[in-house]
Amino acid sequence: MREIGEHQLEDIALGAGVLGTGGGGDPYIGKLLAQQSVRRYGPVTVVDLDEVPDDALVISSAMMGAPTVMVEKLPRGDEVVRAFERLQHHLGREATHTMSIEIGGLNSVVPFCLATRLGLPVVDADLMGRAFPELQMCIPTIYGIDCAPMAIADDKGNSSVIEAADNRWAERLARSHTIDMGCAALIALYPMAGARLRECTIAGSLTAAEELGRLIRETREGHGDPIAAILERCRGHRLFGGKVTDVDRRTERGFARAHVRIDGLDDDAGRALDLETQNEHLVASVDGQVLASVPDLIVVLDSETGQAITTEELRYGFRVTVAAMPCDARWRTDRGLEIVGPRPFGYDFDYVPIEQLAEALAG
């Protein structure tokens, strides 16, 4: 058990930017909201997974919608409380803890806005270990744990409880609500007993994001190499270094997809890397040979500063280093790959873990 204040939120947001793998929404606004909340209501207690009692009721809290809308229509701060209370009322029980569904990007810090207001502890864990675009893309789905009943609330005072046939339906129904609510809504979801929590969440991810952020900050302050530091900390593999030469964006089925071409520089001169993204980076390949793919984390970093670059920011001329980091082992199971492997994202190839791909390349 420990306390998280304004300073730690700064580092969490910095680390979450890397773990967002190009998407997940800019943690900047979430960080400001959480920091304001902490200033007003005091610091938040964060507890380890093994400190959560078996009979605890843990409800995750998150923001849902278009990142482009979220930068304009900021949450008031009480929407997430209303969604949460609505779900508690529906369940007929008070939650004992809240937590993040997504450690990558904005949603890493959203639970703090709730926790400060309700005086709840935040569990040091998340449900993805990175960022993914849809609600069913959470580890509990592998274990048959339901996302619903879930609740959704907006800035205008609307709220709704969603019961769904499965987690894909929960995503679909919540998405329709989100659009009606103005493309930005707050949600309370994945109600779970403490006993279930241990097998189907990623333990310690909040602390991991904070440590990653601190490492990046301190490496920069010491004029070290932030990219090397990130790779070492996240067991990452450097895939490619070069210059962005083409960004082809298109909107398909409501998602921002892009194809990015990066021409190699220095050691990689003469080769080009192709990067496929759908909000997050999905596949990195050279001459059709896959170097890394979902669910492993593909990150694009500014070659000079090590700053994570989002999909929207990518444009011609950026000097970038592309790296990949292993995802949580549960995503690599058959069941996990059915949810977040290359095939559910529309690619016709089988997933190979980054460690094996890197070894094959080195050999």
Binding site: Y28, I29, L32, G65, A66, P67, T68, V69, V71, E72, K73, L74, P133, D155, K156, R175, T178, I179, G182, C183, K243, T245, D246, R249, R250, T251, R253, G254, F255, A256, N279, E312, E313, R315, Y316, G317, F318, R319
Partner: protein
């Protein structure tokens, strides 16, 4: 600056639906509090006002009814989508309102004293002009108009309209891109004194290389970022000083005839050459970073320090050094053109095709250029940008259009 914040009902959704109606009584109470606090300037910002600014206008009128003399900055006129950054930009604008009036009054008085009777225009940072009345309302539009003037001047002097412009002064080199004769705008947020803002700024990449840059005379010489700046003419070797500057290297290489070349005749030619090549390589890399697509582009060199760069710049289809290159900045300010722009989200569907949305945006931008004083038949669209929004199945797109025309000298512009 105090902490005078009033949060009131209102705002719009991304597709233009109202979030909540304006509460006029609530706004009146806020205006009374503003009056009671003795404030002379106010910033008004509403959610999604770049799409629909009605509420900001109404709120402004209500505040003015209660506090007649107040200077009002409305966010839709200052920044873009991105509430926080736009709000910051609006607050900066509001804070500068009084200073702007002070400065334009002083300009007018100076012109009067000199016996000049002519309309007064100031250059703004998109390469167009604005009236003194306009700058009093939008002082932030002057930010970074210096590099913009240089770029516009470079366009006129060189005859190039789509190219990179390298403006090298005494301390820094500014690299920018001209698109259709106008400086390309910065896409991302711009930090001003550590505050995130999103008002319009030219996309300029500054490098610490200038005529006064101090040279570290080692095996592989390094140039800058320290500079003797304005003291070049007393501290550089060719001017009898004891500091080795970038200008000394250009003189040693025979690229420029400035000061006394004997003062640098002892320098090792190989090392001089290596240092100058390094400067050119760094400029070339900056130009490459600023490109939006592969392929060589023309590079126009302006500013007194442009003597530091050779004619062989990798990535340049040609290097253009126009006549009067040292005064490109003043020339840029003297080109009389005015513009209008629009940045809005459109919901594409059965009632509105993409083409109709683009057409609507073009018309509105042209209308704004007309309102700013452009001759109608001279107005042309210089920039169209489209961005699809993630996570919105309804195909919402954000469209940005900029129109520019020649200033109608016979007509008093509507600011």
């Amino acid at each position: 600056m105090g902490d005078h914040v009033h949060l009131c009902h209102g705002g719009h959704e991304f597709d233009g639906r109202a979030i909540a109606p304006l509460d006029r009584d609530e706004l009146r109470r806020a205006a009374e509090a503003i009056a009671a606090a003795g404030l002379r300037t106010a910033a008004i910002s509403s959610v999604f006002s770049p799409i629909n600014d009605e509420l900001e206008r109404e709120a402004g009128e209500i505040v003015r009814e209660t506090v007649p003399d107040i200077a009002i900055s409305r966010s839709a006129e200052i920044g873009r989508l991105g509430l926080l950054e736009r709000e910051n930009a609006t607050i900066i604008n509001a804070s500068l309102a009084e200073l702007a009036v002070h400065i334009t009054t002083a300009f007018r008085a100076a012109l009067e004293q000199m016996g000049i009777d002519a309309p007064v225009y100031l250059s703004q940072n998109d390469g167009t002009l604005m009236t003194a009345e306009y700058v009093e309302r939008y002082p932030v539009a002057t930010f970074a108009s210096g590099p913009t003037n240089s770029m516009r001047g470079a366009a006129l002097l060189s005859g190039e309209s789509d190219c990179a412009v390298v403006d090298i002064g005494g301390t820094t080199a500014d690299v920018g891109m001209l698109v259709g004769g106008f400086p390309r705008e910065a896409k991302a947020t711009v930090e001003i004194g550590g505050v995130r803002t999103n008002f319009r700024m030219p996309d300029v990449l500054p490098l610490g290389i200038g005529g006064g840059s101090i040279v570290a005379w080692q095996d592989v010489p390094e140039v800058g970022p320290q500079s003797v700046g304005y003291e070049l003419t007393s501290r550089a070797r060719v001017f009898g000083g004891d500091v080795l500057t970038a200008t000394d290297l250009a003189v040693a290489a025979g690229w420029a005839q400035i000061g006394d070349p004997r003062a640098v005749s002892e320098l090792d030619p190989g090392r001089v050459d290596a240092a100058l090549q390094r400067i050119t390589a760094r400029i070339a890399e900056a130009v490459d970073r600023m490109k939006v697509a592969a392929g060589d582009v023309p590079v126009v060199m302006v500013g007194g320090g442009s003597i530091l760069v050779g004619d062989d710049v990798p990535g340049a289809s040609r290097v253009v050094r126009p006549d009067h290159f040292a005064v490109a900045n003043a020339i840029g300010a003297a080109i009389a053109q005015v513009g209008g722009e629009i940045d809005q989200m459109f919901s594409i569907g059965p009632n509105l095709s993409r083409e109709q949305a683009l057409e609507r945006a073009r018309e509105q931008a042209a209308e704004r250029a007309r309102a700013a004083g452009a001759t109608p038949d001279s107005i042309r669209i210089v920039d169209v940008e489209e961005l699809a929004l993630a996570y919105v199945p309804g195909n919402a797109v954000r469209i940005k259009v900029k129109a520019v025309g020649d200033l109608d000298m016979r007509r008093t512009p509507v600011a």
